[in-house]
């Protein structure tokens, strides 16, 4: 692990990272543009979130499956994930440290009268909202974010603070393996330009084992880990057994007593793929 330079505010936001995203703030909603891979990721991450939540609820309506659910989208960017979740009925709060991102997100949702009411955006870091949002949210979504944060443990602690007991945390991120360096950085960024150059730093990638360990020692119980694969030719994502590249993770904050639930040997090969896609039309 590389020693990060000591930052003034003990924050999970990394200012170097912010600069990278600043340049592309207006490109979020171009479906064929720099963010096309994130647009198509919705095709698997939205059903994953939706079906996992539905399997934990009773009495939902298929026409409005996430109605009544309060979701925090951390690092929401231009709102690519907030909008579909909002369309499914959830009340979404999207936060992002970069003001330009929030501006883009706000403008895009303003044209849709339904979404304009269901989604609220705020330019803020996670720590800044902890004070006013203790145990407010049913669900936190941190998709393609943890590989950009400065201090992962602080980030997770904050997630725990704003999440209701037994609330769900969804993370998608990239594993730190030789394969992810070769494909995720060299090919994706430098050769094929699937991801804008310099977006990712391999040293900040997190392996599922590390993430699970951090989560379990901070009051979470990891329920599901699934590998994800991007096909650059078709521009689409699919699930796969191996988590050596991208993966998605679902964890639940332990109940009111505050005791972390005992960990079973969770091997990541024990993929709950079928439960995650149950109930798809």
């Amino acid at each position: 692990t590389v020693n990060r330079p000591f930052s003034i505010s003990h924050s999970s936001v990394d200012s170097e990272e912010m600069k990278k995203f600043q340049l592309l703030a207006h490109k979020w909603w171009d479906e064929e543009g720099e963010y096309s891979a994130l647009h198509s990721m919705n095709d698997i991450r939205v059903p994953f979130i939706r079906d996992t939540l539905l399997s934990m609820r009773n009495g939902y309506h298929l026409g409005n499956p996430l109605s009544g659910v309060k979701i925090l989208d951390v690092g929401c960017g231009g709102g690519l994930l907030s909008e579909p979740l909002g369309r499914l009925g959830a009340s979404v709060t999207g936060i992002d440290p970069l003001e330009d991102n929030i501006r883009t997100a706000d403008r895009h949702k303003s044209f849709d009268p339904v979404l304009a009411k269901r989604i609220q955006y705020k330019s803020s870091s996670l720590e800044e909202i902890v004070e006013e949002s203790m145990e407010t949210f049913d669900v936190i979504v941190a998709s393609e974010v943890v590989e950009h944060v400065a201090d992962l443990e602080t980030f997770i602690k904050c997630c725990s603070q704003v999440l209701k007991p037994e609330g769900s945390l969804f993370i998608t991120t990239i594993n730190r393996t030789q394969l992810s360096y070769a494909l995720g950085i060299v090919v994706a960024e430098k050769i094929m330009g699937i991801v804008p150059g310099g977006t990712h730093e391999w040293e900040k990638f997190v392996s599922p084992e590390e993430l699970e360990h951090l989560l379990e020692s901070n009051g979470f119980s990891v329920k599901t880990v699934n590998g994800m694969l991007y096909n650059p030719l078709s521009g689409s994502w699919s699930w796969m057994e191996s988590t050596s590249l991208n993966y998605a993770l679902h964890a639940v904050k332990s109940g009111a007593e505050g005791q972390p639930l005992p960990t079973d040997t969770l091997s990541e090969m024990d993929s709950h793929q079928h439960s995650a896609t149950a109930g798809t039309a």
Binding site: W29, E31, V46, G63, P65, G86, R87, L88, T280, A281
Partner: protein
């Protein structure tokens, strides 16, 4: 879509140029515009409760279809092994009435604007950073304005939506018109067979409506069509009977060649030639039921664009000789509804090209081969030239003897 559960909180508007059509009770006379509804289309209609209404009104199932050539003895018969219904002949007005009833049932989600017309469309700009609305704006003739995330063009072969969206259309007017009429048969019969005979001027078809009535669809040259409409009822009936029964187009050469081929087939495949049934003869025609309309073929180069989709005749137009036009449209609907429903359940923007393209690929793959085949058949059967007649005679006889091909058709 109004009945789809994933569309529970969506709003749909239907712009209909015509008046509201509903039957409180079915009129005694048959309407002269009918369609042959395939079992697949019937399934679609029953998936949202419309088929039940159709059954309560009026329809005629048929079990068998006999198609033969005027220039030879070649014939092909279609029927399902299990003696199930092959399809249904239903009046278009009956279908409309059934649909109206089911639209009423979801009036809170679907708003129908009868007698309305769109006079202007404003398309969203592709770049998303603009300040103008990213949705499609529609201006109606009465001045009202609507905006939508997805505009579906179902406005027929002269589709305005398609033209305004600047989607190119490959089209070709046939030098034929179709004459339709409601006919009464000489004697009551089971009448569960659909008949079609290919004359050199075009196919003539008799579609059963009841034990005593059938609907006529006769595709022929524009001049002949006008003559048919102008002549008195008796001559009209005579023309129809002679079209089905006369053998003047046969030539010895073709007959012999056909007979030789048939005996060859029966050597290889004893059951390969079916029994030829005789079509019913017509006694009279319903007054005022004669009408004609020109025929053509068309295919849009694209079915979809950002926030736009074309279905039915707006996307493709075929010759009625295969009775498939409306069924292709129903197929489009089933496919588009499926993709939109899945997109809604994923929280996607309904106008997004991602799922619209999936619809386009699926349907173009299915439609293009059928449209091309119908066009080829139309041309192949429009001639008396011996070589082509021989080709199609043998082709028809061979196809009749080969179950796998017949099943595919």
């Amino acid at each position: 879509l109004g009945h789809d559960i994933h569309f529970h909180d969506k709003k749909i508007a239907l712009l209909e140029a015509g008046p509201r059509k509903e039957y409180n009770h079915v009129p005694d006379r048959y309407s002269n515009r009918v369609s042959s509804i395939s079992p697949g289309s019937a399934t679609l209609l029953s998936s949202f409760g419309a088929w039940e209404h159709v059954c309560n009104m009026r329809l005629k199932p048929f079990r068998r279809m006999q198609v033969w050539d005027a220039c030879s003895e070649a014939m092909i018969v279609f029927e399902k092994d299990d003696l199930d219904d092959m399809g249904y002949i239903v009046e278009n007005d009956v279908i409309m009435s059934a649909l109206t009833k089911q639209l009423d049932a979801v009036a809170d989600r679907v708003e129908v604007f009868y007698r309305s017309r769109a006079v202007g469309y404003t398309w969203p700009l592709p770049s998303h950073s603009s300040d103008t609305s990213p949705w499609v704006q529609i201006e109606l003739a009465d001045g009202r304005r609507l905006q939508t995330k997805l505009l579906i063009g179902a406005d027929g072969h002269n589709s305005v939506v398609r033209k305004e969206a600047q989607i190119k259309n490959i089209e070709h007017q046939y030098d034929q018109s179709a004459v339709v009429a409601t006919l009464h048969l000489s004697e009551a019969t089971d009448n569960n067979v659909a008949w079609q005979r290919f004359l050199p001027t075009g196919p003539i078809a008799l579609l059963p409506l009841s034990d005593t009535a059938s609907s006529l669809v006769w595709s022929t040259s524009h001049e002949h069509a006008s003559e048919l409409l102008a002549m008195d009822e008796e001559s009209f009936v005579d023309s129809i009977n002679s079209a089905f029964w006369s053998n003047i187009n046969h030539s010895d050469f073709i007959d012999t060649a056909g007979a030789l081929f048939r005996s060859a087939i029966s050597l290889l495949k004893p059951s390969g030639t079916a029994v030829r049934q005789l079509p019913p003869s017509v006694a009279k025609v319903d007054a005022e039921s004669r009408a004609m309309f020109p025929l053509g073929m068309g295919h849009a180069t694209e079915y979809v664009q950002h926030r736009v989709a074309l279905i039915g005749d707006a996307a493709h137009r075929v010759h009625p000789l295969a009775g498939q036009g409306v069924n292709l449209g129903f197929g489009d609907i089933a496919c588009l509804a499926h993709h939109l429903s899945a997109a809604a359940f994923n929280g996607s923007d309904l106008g997004s090209l991602k799922h619209l393209l999936k619809f386009e690929t699926e349907r173009q793959r299915h439609n293009v081969s059928l449209i091309a085949a119908v066009d080829v058949l139309k041309r192949l059967y429009s001639t008396r030239l011996a070589p082509l007649v021989l080709l199609r005679t043998w082709g028809l006889q061979a196809t009749n003897a080969l179950p796998p091909i017949k099943v595919r058709i």
